[in-house]
Subunit: 189 residues, 2 copies
Amino acid sequence: MNLLLEKIKNEGRVLSENVLKVDSFINHQIDPKLMYEVGIEFARRFKNKQITKILTIESSGIAPAVFLGLELDVPVIFARKRKSITLNDNLLVSKVHSFTKQETNDVTISKDYIFENDNVLIVDDFLANGQAALGLINLAEQANANVVGIGIIIEKSFQEGRSLLLEKGYHIESLARIKSLANGQVSFY
Amino acid sequence: MNLLLEKIKNEGRVLSENVLKVDSFINHQIDPKLMYEVGIEFARRFKNKQITKILTIESSGIAPAVFLGLELDVPVIFARKRKSITLNDNLLVSKVHSFTKQETNDVTISKDYIFENDNVLIVDDFLANGQAALGLINLAEQANANVVGIGIIIEKSFQEGRSLLLEKGYHIESLARIKSLANGQVSFY
Ligand SMILES: Nc1nc2c(ncn2[C@@H]2O[C@H](COP(=O)(O)OP(=O)(O)O)[C@@H](OP(=O)(O)OP(=O)(O)O)[C@H]2O)c(=O)[nH]1
Ligand SMILES: Nc1nc2c(ncn2[C@@H]2O[C@H](COP(=O)(O)OP(=O)(O)O)[C@@H](OP(=O)(O)OP(=O)(O)O)[C@H]2O)c(=O)[nH]1
């Protein structure tokens, strides 16, 4: 997706060989037109999957997920990492490990919104070590839904998330695949 | 906004005389088509404000904010309530008090994305006691931006947020105004 690659080249900041900062258009400021195009592109790549639900996780996954939801006219559910005053009924919980923080946290959805046989597309902004994606897959599977694909805006292909998910047989579509962040430079596949 | 009022009447659940649950279309599952219409409606109500930025707060404010951002073609910034691995530069911080939790928390944005003389529209899902809105206003004002309005999906008009903000001279547009949640019933103005 050229528009995205250009945005990353022009506005992305390499913070270390492991971290790319894209706060100016994804993680703090959001470019709505870009996200709209991201939604269109995900819809194109997952055509014929008969998606019935989109599952993401707060916060940066919400924008790309809702634009895909608009394009496909399907509901979007965002899993929560923290308690909410209304998310208190019929919960499904999955544990997600953070290597950076050296801790494991609960990620939660309500069974009220994902049903047996829903065809769920998982969407997130980054794919790094894959723990968040695995957590969302686990939630969908606890609900007996089918995970029909995983849509990622930026994949750090030098981390293990992609291969972890591919080995398990999931269909991943990453709109930007980063080969390396070494020497302060973004290089794409 | 009829579509919204119908959604609240059909899917809203009154949890107490102070809390309305709308997890099925705003706070956990999101209805993208409804949010698209919310964006159109906010744009209509704030026409001629020459909005240059939309400011919201994670997580439930993001969807309505990005659809308004799409409609107006302006960037959206979401303030953070928790640390993020990339939000670490040029921070502006505001304290927001939670009556329920009896605690005060930091809400943060980066100065890199809101500029002096930006015409900022604040967007959020709920307006209750107004503390979150005041926190966002404070952030925008620390950046010397102009808060040109506040767009709210659901206002609980029996709580003090609306009058607090009106007294300070802000232009508020609430798409649903709830007079009462007594006796398990939603009644609108
Ligand atoms: N900008 C940026 N972010 C990265 C990068 N690699 C991972 N992340 C994000 O950082 C957060 C790190 O998550 P951790 O749970 O601490 O995981 P980890 O240490 O095992 O990688 C996640 O954001 P999150 O919890 O989903 O946060 P939110 O933005 O949705 O609130 C993830 O998406 C990167 O190279 N650049
Ligand atoms: N569903 C629902 N939510 C309400 C209602 N009244 C307030 N809220 C939300 O509850 C959260 C309460 O915030 P607190 O900071 O604890 O504030 P408070 O006790 O002073 O009201 C806020 O969500 P938040 O922090 O913005 O959470 P998020 O959903 O964006 O993650 C606010 O939007 C209500 O009647 N119904």
